[in-house]
């Protein structure tokens, strides 16, 4: 780093630390969002409002109602079918369960549960989860009924099965594929094998959560730096000084990167305190630092292109949203059309999530080297593009 780059970085950092609203937006908000995400992904479904109607005259209907009532997952109301339907319609409850009139008879004769579960799936995740939790109660009801003479397919569903107990122990507010596979698979008589048996459920979501936090901070911070200098006119002065366009961009990259590294350190300190030694924090730091580098370079390119700060932030947010949608951190990217997926290699999140999965789930930091190298190459490409653009644009 040249002396000029050092001074430009030092005073750029000083100026940035005085812009508290921007710092809050770029630094604190992603950490808070990540922690909120961690809380959401660490807790199971609870107190879902449910309306139940029992039209069965036999004893199994009343038993099923009691089982729903006992479940901590549901906040149950028992009433007639019409009232339950009205409550579902106006959003007072998320689901209704109607125990049909012939439930006891059918269960005794055919070994089948005669109940109708209706779920409001306008909130997809809540709808899915509620359906799964209802199924779980119904299966438990079935198992309990046949406790002394279970059909072979249901043997796998016993709560005292060590593997099933482990799976149920990993309940979260997200659908876990293994649970869906297990329920379906058990009835089909297939055997399932899970790739990852990570004991900490949060680990499945960490690659996405960490990536979102770092991408948000690095991209927004970097995207604002050059355009702000242009808006207050100091860019003109800086470029008329001995500071070259390359040194100037390096200084702005350094400012955004330093702030991102501070954020990464805070995140990993909290994570280390929360999860202890279950993760290689050093490997995580390396991956996140490279992700920050690539995101800063992308942000600097946006900032160099943007006409004003609002424009820059709009583009930065758009880039972040695209990465959330296509970076496979939350949504399965395999369902996207090929044309849309073609931009995945250009997104820092794609490579970051791949690298973080290597470190967190496979416990193989060496496997992260490939995606990390790609991030470094992307950073160099975007920085180079920003340099060419600044040189061309400012020397009109």
């Amino acid at each position: 780093m040249s002396a000029r780059t050092y001074w430009a970085t030092r005073y750029g950092l000083l100026a940035l630390t005085r812009d508290r609203p921007l710092l809050f937006l770029a630094l604190v908000l992603p950490i808070a969002t990540m922690m909120l995400g961690g809380i959401v992904f660490s807790h199971g479904l609870a107190n879902v409002p449910l309306c139940i109607t029992n039209e069965d005259v036999g004893s199994y209907g009343a038993k099923l109602v009691t089982e729903f009532d006992r479940s901590a997952r549901f906040d149950m109301t028992e009433t007639d079918r019409a009232t339950c339907d009205a409550m579902l319609r106006d959003g007072t409850v998320a689901a209704t369960v109607a125990v049909e009139a012939n439930h006891t008879g059918r269960l005794s004769a055919e070994g089948r549960v005669d109940a109708t579960v209706t779920v409001d799936n306008s909130l997809p995740f809540l709808g899915w989860l509620t359906m799964l939790e209802c199924r779980k109660v119904l299966y438990a009801h079935l198992l309990d009924t046949f406790a002394n003479d279970p059909p072979p397919a249901l043997l796998h569903m016993r709560e005292n099965d060590p593997f099933l107990s482990w799976v149920y122990g990993q309940v979260s507010a997200f659908i876990t594929p293994e649970r869906v596979y297990f329920i379906i698979g058990a009835l089909l008589g297939t055997q399932e094998r899970l790739v990852h048996l990570d004991p900490v459920f949060l680990h499945y979501y960490l690659p996405g959560l960490l990536t979102i936090a770092v991408v948000f901070t690095a991209t927004t911070l970097a995207s604002i730096l050059v355009v702000r200098d242009r808006e207050d006119g100091s860019l003109t002065r800086l470029l008329a000084s001995p500071l070259t366009p390359g040194e100037y961009l390096a200084s702005r990259m350094a400012v955004a990167l330093l702030m991102s590294l501070v954020q990464i350190t805070i995140i990993l300190a909290v994570l280390g305190w929360y999860l202890g030694s279950k993760l290689s924090l050093l490997s995580l730091f390396a991956v996140l630092a490279v992700l920050a580098l690539a995101s800063c370079a992308l942000g600097i390119l946006v900032s160099t292109m943007a006409g004003n700060a609002l424009h820059a932030l709009e583009v930065a947010v758009l880039i972040i949203v695209v990465q959330i949608l296509l970076g496979s951190m939350v949504f399965p990217n395999v369902i996207m059309p090929d044309a849309v997926r073609s931009i995945e290699p250009l997104l820092p999140a794609t490579h970051s999530v791949a690298a973080l999965r290597e470190v967190i789930l496979w416990k193989e930091p060496a496997g992260a080297q490939g995606p990390m190298s790609t991030l470094v190459v992307l950073a160099a490409l975007w920085w180079g593009a920003a340099w060419m653009l600044l040189t061309y644009r400012e020397q009109r």
Binding site: A3, R4, W7, A8, Y11, L14, A15, L16, R18, D19, D229, D232, G233, S234, T236, R237, L238, L239, A240, S241, P242, L243, T244, P245, T391, E394, Q395, R396
Partner: protein, 221 residues
């Protein structure tokens, strides 16, 4: 020695010619006033000399070196003050001066520049809290703080109170007496310290001569 030499410079933006065959030279210790209506090409000429605008044709040299935006050594010999006060709004007066001094490899003149410009009372004040007059003075200070050999000032006294304008002209005179070549653009040729001037109209030199004649040309005396 000629500190600034401009030969047949042309700068086009599409079909419009902001500068159209302008040639000037300014010696060390000499001051040139550039007068002209809005859009005449005054700022473009100064920005070209500062390496911020690449000419379409013609040549520019400052202190014997061809002007280009990536010549750090040349940039260190030039002090450029843009038309709008252009400083880091989040930094204080002193920090702004120190930053631009450090970028030129020095920091010795920060204190004296603050004294010279009368900025002592606001030295710890952030630029975004300064009045326009103080901002203009700070902007001038930033272009002076590293002791440049060539000063390019775009309307250095615009919107300033008369007594402050007088102080600014005094400082420019001192710089000139110290051997610096000064080029400044203005709309008010009746004041200032220039030895001679040019009148730019539609990117061309419409008149040039000593200041008395330039004033007469512009003001129609």
């Amino acid at each position: 020695m000629d500190a600034v030499v401009v030969k047949d410079i042309v700068k086009s933006y599409g079909d419009r010619r902001a500068l159209d065959g302008v040639s000037i030279s300014v010696k060390e210790g000499e001051t040139l006033c550039i007068v002209g209506p809005n859009g005449a090409g005054k700022s473009t000429l100064l920005e070209s000399l500062a390496g911020l605008v690449a000419p379409t044709a013609g040549s520019l040299s400052v202190m014997g070196r061809p002007v280009n935006g990536s010549d750090a050594q040349l940039a260190g010999q030039v002090g450029f003050m843009p038309q709008a006060p252009s400083v880091h709004t989040m930094l204080t007066v002193e920090e702004n001066l120190e930053l631009f001094a450090r970028l030129n490899g020095t920091s010795e003149a920060v204190g004296s520049t603050i004294e010279r410009l009368g900025l002592k009372g606001v030295r710890s004040q952030r630029a975004d809290t300064l009045s326009f007059g103080y901002l203009q003075l700070l902007s001038l200070g930033v272009s002076l703080v590293h002791g440049p050999r060539v000063l390019l000032l775009d309307e250095p006294t615009a919107s300033l109170y008369p007594s402050v304008r007088k102080r600014v002209w005094g400082i420019i005179r001192e710089e000139c007496e110290g051997g610096a070549a000064v080029l400044y653009a203005t709309h008010t040729p009746e004041e200032g310290t220039a030895d001679r001037g040019i009148v730019l109209e539609d990117g061309k030199i419409a008149f040039e001569g000593v200041m008395k004649d330039v004033r007469a040309h512009v003001l129609g005396d």
